[in-house]
Symmetry: D2
Subunit: 260 residues, 4 copies
């Protein structure tokens, strides 16, 4: 060694120390909170907001109801009326539900109250989408569909209500004859082996782009009469209602779902 | 009275029993679970999915940034660049935030990575929307905005991440040069008087109609370095980020919010 | 410089690099996740499990009911019967509640069904503790107290039920004449300004050391008739019930509460 | 029949009407909200608060560690030191865990810092109970045990902390040489098939009868270094820690658990 070395070394050292001053404290390193996997899957969004993203399951392609069956007789196809690009409840044939069963999902669904709608209260364009069909008839968790553009009814039975459980946050209904759309996030309930609830269901719902349900935690299956209750179930069909009221039937189109 | 009385009595009785069969058991009356108020407010939805509903507050009208101010100097207007119908981050001027403060809300916001984007990782079209600006600089809860159409970075720093807290559920980014849109539900945190958390914040977020955050419960304010933490605050501005990276600046348009 | 310098420097450098290998990566430093404040307050626990910790508010000192008043007439003191170290419901005088109001708390409370209890179903030693008294009469959130040691009733009305909302997880009742104890964690509901629920109430409850309610989220105030509903309130008294049934009156002792 | 029939008929009628006046409106019938099953199981509580209820699984009977094995070598019995009615960590033998695996439970566990404790900070009577042992070593969810009667350390590493996640609500420690007791409610996390979290874990914990954790929702497994993360697991052992610090070993006794 010589003096130059001596002079040089401290400088080197100082450099190190300075570098350490910059990021000596691990709490100061942003890299410690970076996560690099799993890498989210690539999903190509639709061109228009209502278009199905690339990973969506199309539940109605505009031409047939092959993805659905009759609830009364699951061996039979759904017998509702198909038009060009949409289908309409065939009164008296009963509810229909998807062949495929789902747990958690994002659902897009469009519906139209007929322009010539009649009736009042719950008897005016009544239908509904059951986010999980847990049995025949109306068993499950129903989001109400109804003409409430200018029609008074109980508010926990309005369009966008979790039927008889949750009043919608707004009345964002369009007038009869116009297509309306639901965007729904369904988080299915989970159950313990003994049938008790491990995690209740919750739902977030937009009607025509307006938030109507904000992560509402369901009290159980929706019921026309009595108190909601949970009853253990697994993956379930999505079900559409043929309501018994005599008003003109409503139509559906453009239904797609993304499993979460 | 006479023997006819004898005949009549059972009839009377039967009538009572019949009436009781109809609605004797309160558990059988659907009216008991009807709720009639409060009546949800009427909101006229937009004509197109991206249009503001009637009760929305317009945060950018396409012409000026009057609803925003500079974060560095709140007495000064936001100095970003305005074009016809959109505005663009002016690099070096700092973040901007809304004059109005919010708690819970539904937010629609559109943004575009410039077609000539350059850079890589986090230095490629980086900006962000802070759902609540809880201080100067980058304090608050940031939803990341970044070109990740074809750009690798840490996944909890992708577009649609709750920055360094929650990986987005999908990569639904469009390519640079195309307008993209966020629909966000923000449930602000609530605090006890002593500053501890009463209820953490949660967020649901769609990018281009695809669900990226499903009611994610935030661990605290988002931080570049270190662990997220909550610090008591009340109603807050929405903030947009002027990120320091040298890549071309991104643009915004069509921003509206509905208070919940 | 000379060759010695050149030889030496790398060695120095290597040393630095090694040191950096040891703790260069902030993710490897346990100190980054240490938190040093706020320092939890010191609480001296009781000598026996049922004894009040040092920060508890004593709601019954064994000698008088100075901490309580009549619900019917809040200006009047609680007129129940005081014995040596315990007190007994005075039938017909109505409910009593604490002068002090509470939000979240840990409550210890002991009660005894009289040895000579008579009656059946709900008419057998019926009383209850309302975790928040939100009005006169039985308004609030009631945890049931009842002799169900050998007495059949509806299970959501058993001892330890959240009355008509939550069945207790077990029947851990002692026989009449023995003192029993509740340990309860009450997290009061919080409300938005418009009266809607920000955060529902939840309760955890032990009877005689056995868990009966495990963070149950209440659906609203407990009601004898109809559906539970929330109605906005703030800090509230704890209330004890003078139930109208004709069975012999039950006794209480050793009541303390810790505010959370 | 006879004339008395005549007199009787109106009475009958009146009776019906009166009965209907009393409970004509289903919303007024308290029976509609009674639930009669399932009937909660009968559990005989212990005589003293610390005694095991009748349905508890005894994890230490005062005489042997047959319910436990070595974590390092699960084929070997737990080799800690047994005294009359309690056992003591045998330094250097490693952690021990229960043979039986659990999901949700109520746990009672007593422990004692030796009177001659020495050391400071984390090196003073350090041990811990892992509510679910999710792997070898210290993998899992640790509730810290440490002498902090008069010993300063980071507060998220105090007795009763969810280690490095949750500061205890109070410091209710007794002095070295005294037995202390934990009462813990553990709600295990649940996972989706893909390993993501369906429902995070939560814990409620009392030390010596004082609430230290109030339904805290865990951010993941506890970690000495780095950020807590969840990793999918099922039913798991309860584990006790042989901490490497050189201070005198702590003792345990009276451990029982009730599955929920």
């Amino acid at each position: 060694m010589n003096k130059y070395t001596l002079l040089f070394i401290p400088a080197l050292f100082a450099g190190q120390v300075m570098a350490q001053d910059k990021k000596p404290d691990p709490a100061n390193d942003p890299k410690t909170t970076e996560v690099w996997e799993p890498v989210p899957k690539i999903v190509t969004p639709g061109k228009l907001p209502q278009d199905a993203p690339s990973d969506a399951i199309i539940l109605f392609n505009g031409r047939n109801l092959d993805a659905w069956h009759s609830v009364k007789d699951p061996s039979k196809p759904a017998a509702w009326t198909i038009d060009d690009g949409f289908f309409t409840v065939k009164k008296g044939t009963g509810n229909i539900e998807t062949n495929k069963k789902f747990t958690d999902y994002q659902l897009h669904l469009e519906w139209k109250i007929p322009e010539n709608i009649s009736g009042e209260g719950q008897a005016r364009g009544n239908s509904g989408v059951f986010l999980a069909s847990t049995g025949g008839g109306d068993d499950g968790y129903e989001i109400q569909i109804l003409d409430v553009f200018n029609n008074k009814t109980y508010v926990n039975g309005q369009t966008g209500s979790v039927y008889k459980q949750a009043i919608p946050l707004a009345n964002a209904n369009k007038k009869p004859g116009e297509w309306q759309y639901y965007d729904i996030i369904w988080n299915a309930p989970r159950f313990n082996e003994d049938g008790t609830v491990l995690k209740p269901a919750s739902v977030t719902l937009f009607l025509n782009g307006v938030l109507l349900q904000n992560g509402f935690v369901l009290k159980g299956a929706t019921r026309y009469i009595g108190t909601p209750e949970y009853k253990k179930h697994g993956p379930s069909s999505i079900k559409l209602q043929d309501h018994g009221d005599p008003s003109p039937a409503i139509s559906y189109r453009n239904i797609w779902v993304r499993e979460l």
